[in-house]
Symmetry: D2
Subunit: 338 residues, 4 copies
Amino acid sequence: MTTLAIGVIGCGYWGPNLIRNFALNEKVKVKYVCDISRDRMDLITRTYPTIKGIDDYHEVLQDKEIDAVAIATPVGSHFEIGHQALLHGKHVLMEKPMASSSKEADQLVNLAQSKGLVLMVDHVFVYTGAVRKIKELVRAGEIGDLLYYDGVRINLGQFQRDVNVIWDLAPHDFSIMGFVLDRFPKSVHALGSSHVKAGMENTAYVTCRFSGSLMAHFHFNWLSPVKIRRTLIGGTKKMIIYDDLDPVEKVKVYDRGVDLSPDPQEIHKTLISYRTGDVWAPVIDMTEGLKRVCDDFLDSILMKKAPLSDGIAGYRVVRMLEAAQESLISGDFVDIPE
Amino acid sequence: MTTLAIGVIGCGYWGPNLIRNFALNEKVKVKYVCDISRDRMDLITRTYPTIKGIDDYHEVLQDKEIDAVAIATPVGSHFEIGHQALLHGKHVLMEKPMASSSKEADQLVNLAQSKGLVLMVDHVFVYTGAVRKIKELVRAGEIGDLLYYDGVRINLGQFQRDVNVIWDLAPHDFSIMGFVLDRFPKSVHALGSSHVKAGMENTAYVTCRFSGSLMAHFHFNWLSPVKIRRTLIGGTKKMIIYDDLDPVEKVKVYDRGVDLSPDPQEIHKTLISYRTGDVWAPVIDMTEGLKRVCDDFLDSILMKKAPLSDGIAGYRVVRMLEAAQESLISGDFVDIPE
Amino acid sequence: MTTLAIGVIGCGYWGPNLIRNFALNEKVKVKYVCDISRDRMDLITRTYPTIKGIDDYHEVLQDKEIDAVAIATPVGSHFEIGHQALLHGKHVLMEKPMASSSKEADQLVNLAQSKGLVLMVDHVFVYTGAVRKIKELVRAGEIGDLLYYDGVRINLGQFQRDVNVIWDLAPHDFSIMGFVLDRFPKSVHALGSSHVKAGMENTAYVTCRFSGSLMAHFHFNWLSPVKIRRTLIGGTKKMIIYDDLDPVEKVKVYDRGVDLSPDPQEIHKTLISYRTGDVWAPVIDMTEGLKRVCDDFLDSILMKKAPLSDGIAGYRVVRMLEAAQESLISGDFVDIPE
Amino acid sequence: MTTLAIGVIGCGYWGPNLIRNFALNEKVKVKYVCDISRDRMDLITRTYPTIKGIDDYHEVLQDKEIDAVAIATPVGSHFEIGHQALLHGKHVLMEKPMASSSKEADQLVNLAQSKGLVLMVDHVFVYTGAVRKIKELVRAGEIGDLLYYDGVRINLGQFQRDVNVIWDLAPHDFSIMGFVLDRFPKSVHALGSSHVKAGMENTAYVTCRFSGSLMAHFHFNWLSPVKIRRTLIGGTKKMIIYDDLDPVEKVKVYDRGVDLSPDPQEIHKTLISYRTGDVWAPVIDMTEGLKRVCDDFLDSILMKKAPLSDGIAGYRVVRMLEAAQESLISGDFVDIPE
């Protein structure tokens, strides 16, 4: 079996998780970890003495042995590093959001395509057993027609230095929703407040309109005293609650809803009745999502296939973030052309 | 002790609760129950044979022995019945929302005032131990400056025939917020969806802007598979979670938040640090809120005092509902002049 | 339809609930409430002016119009009042436990039988949707062979004046277990502590051995800071958790367990593997159990049938309580002859 | 600073955690990992290429550079390996339970003492922030006099091959209780069932009697569909609930209980009243317990001090396990002489 060589650029919060997963994967050898902080690198190289710590990522890109890089730096540098990496012929796994603007994201997608390289975005939740189970249920029509999608992702900090709470937390929900619904919103609306640092929203509510009556809404907050990560998905047949913090019953399917029937007594009226049936929590594959991310990235390179979470998926998330940001300022719904 | 005589008009969902509480109260005698449904009245008179069931509320108003009426009919009839009752010199306890428009609410307030009658609105949550405890904490400055207020009130049905989900559920939250914060929003914004009956929103998100950076947001939903009634109140010192469905720890106070301090190394920067301290659930008086509502109404009549939840409080709630309704249509924030 | 006449003897904690349910039942008319406390009776007669309050229960028994009595007095008086009632030809609904000794319980059962009267014990949980659902699952073989039964019923007070925590709380669990398993233990063991009043256990652990490897165990406690009412039922196929305090998912069925298979490599060994499948919470009929108790009692009289929770069921519970009490003193397992 | 050299013997379930913690600790260098399974060792040496994997532990003991060993093999081999290690002059960190009999445990304690070596048992919960906080509260008298101690530790598997559920799970609770109460039981009682493998209990209830009215009780179960790790500690002043699975509020202190006062009306009677006050969840230090275990072991060697969880503590746990095992067979309480 070919063994690929990878360099991980950025080892702050998420980089060490990438390294841990790549280190346990037999398809790849982690050759470099790159960071501007010597302390952070030392923590890695102490545990993994075979990984070389360097502070200039260009060195990684110039190494001909390197097949791929994983980029886990702050958002502001994603485009520049990703662009350089693709130009040097490296396959790229990019942290989310993949770029600071949809224009940049688009450029990366085109560059990767023209050079025949894998460009993948680490939408890690899309690779978890819980989200895959929900996708499976929605696709099989178990839920019926979708009515609403309501996500809450709140906790206390970490305040990011360079992006607001939407750019920090929404990529998770936008990527999950895109994957599960396989639909893209027509317009996006956002409201926010900055309590800590002017112009840097720490609390925000984002609403998406789709064609039809489907509406999605999200609550993002860095100032909540408790951690909540819960999504409600309402359908005409059934409803789903996805609670990512429940250690066992992450996905619950409720046979509950409203049934409409013509009123036998008054022709033009409709009778509303409630359906309260069983609750079902399907068993969830608990494999770490990031393990699957790393696998999909390496397999995509080795088998020359497109990853599940490809550059297009990453572009769409950035496009929605951009629209939300625009709405934060204008106060209006911002249309997203198809 | 004077014993008052009361008639309860409307005994659908809430009326029987009013009757049960008045029946146990020694300051009052329930003389009439009035409803257009004979079945509903029979259920009452079977249990309380001394209460007379009638189907025309005018009969109650014309009875000189009657001091007061409690009106628990559908919203659309509140104004008409309340207006008539005040004209007949009866003290009025009104279900929420007190009227279908702020103009009507204003008229009722003025009429009651000019006739020297008690006009009270049954904002029942304002009388619960949990909400009183929160008010006490906020007023004492325990929470610090208020940053955000986030309420979720969702469940499966009951779909109302004559009002949408905002008019049905928001009076609870608007009255609680008004009482706790003692502040009134500058503008209101609402988004909603109608999945069941065109033009009758069953899912809605309402946002209130206040002077300063305080923002309030609410999620109302009749189509949720689970029942949630939870409010987060974030302050600079502490944060509160009010979970009305927790049988014991309804109010939790979190010594958590963000502290800002000047960066000693870089003058123009600010250091952000997290504070994660104890959680405290104060003991809550579990007296039924409605018992206190009935007491306050009767005491206000007997002692010629203003009730805690008076007509003005009721007017304000209607004013906010009206603004939300307007925003649902226009899509814009609707200002509320002071 | 014949309308029966009933007298309710004892209206402390539970009596008012009996009266409320009988008052709403069209098959019966509550003629008397009897208690030695005038205050307690006044609370009743104020709400139900057609019920006559008296302080001597003999008066009830001598009234020829009275068909039946419900006895909700302290345990110590159950036998005497029940005995007198049966002698006077009244059908009897008895609070649990039905008597202070199995000898007394046996006497009541025989007397009722010889006089052709209904003798029923108010094992109210047996009539709830949750327990009926569990019974249905167990009987249908969904759970497989039963391995263990573990019940916890703890809270803060009410300390009873005349019985210990086992006599107070165990009748619930013993009656549920008897109904669900349809098996009776071979021997009973109990350990307890008295922290408040010497000789009056407020904390106790009771263990029951059945034929085969089935073991049941209960934790009863009046001194717990929190209220827990949870039963685990382990079977070879599935497992059940019954949490009476969960407002919605009272019964959960877990497709979890251990599978044994012969080890293909070593003939005499067995391989153990874990099965972690779906969790399923069937919809539960939420009708108040006591409503069904009253119905079953009245139907048993009217249709001359045996109630679900008859005197024999009541006797068995007392027999187990007696054995537990004996074990508390001796420290040994106490056998219960068939 | 002196850097110690350690070998980890046994790397099945727990060994890798020891290695991970020692690897991050600057006071020590992990020189060997020793296991009979080549696969398990490969997993380690792949991540930590500087650690040498060997299959014979004697090699570790004969290496003069080695100061200490950590023994994480199955229980049956603890004594033999520990004994050999001490004879070779190595400091020993032993997994719990430290031996299969109190006689063996006693021998290890004496041997370590006579040779001036550190003998420590990895009672890891004793080193967690939650248990330390409870200890602090109990010691400070916040709880008052102790009334009862009730522990539940149940989940689905892992079935151990060589010990029953008491020997597997009780060491956690016995060590926590010993640390928190600083008292040792007078006698131990145990009941159990073997559903899977004859003679190997997978469900057990253990009761401990102390001097006075304090009683402790534990439920251990490998066949529970859900994981519960909860301890109730009742005192005359306050009560504690320790829920190890709660991610945040692991320790809750309830200002609840029963107050006794003389009855002013009847001299020989006592009035019982309930106290329901606030609930308080103190902030808990979330440092990994095992990190502190490793630190304490290394510090004990370096500073020639006794560790918190020394051989005596380990001996006591084994003594209780032994008594429980004896009771399982005899059915009686087994006394533990002081």
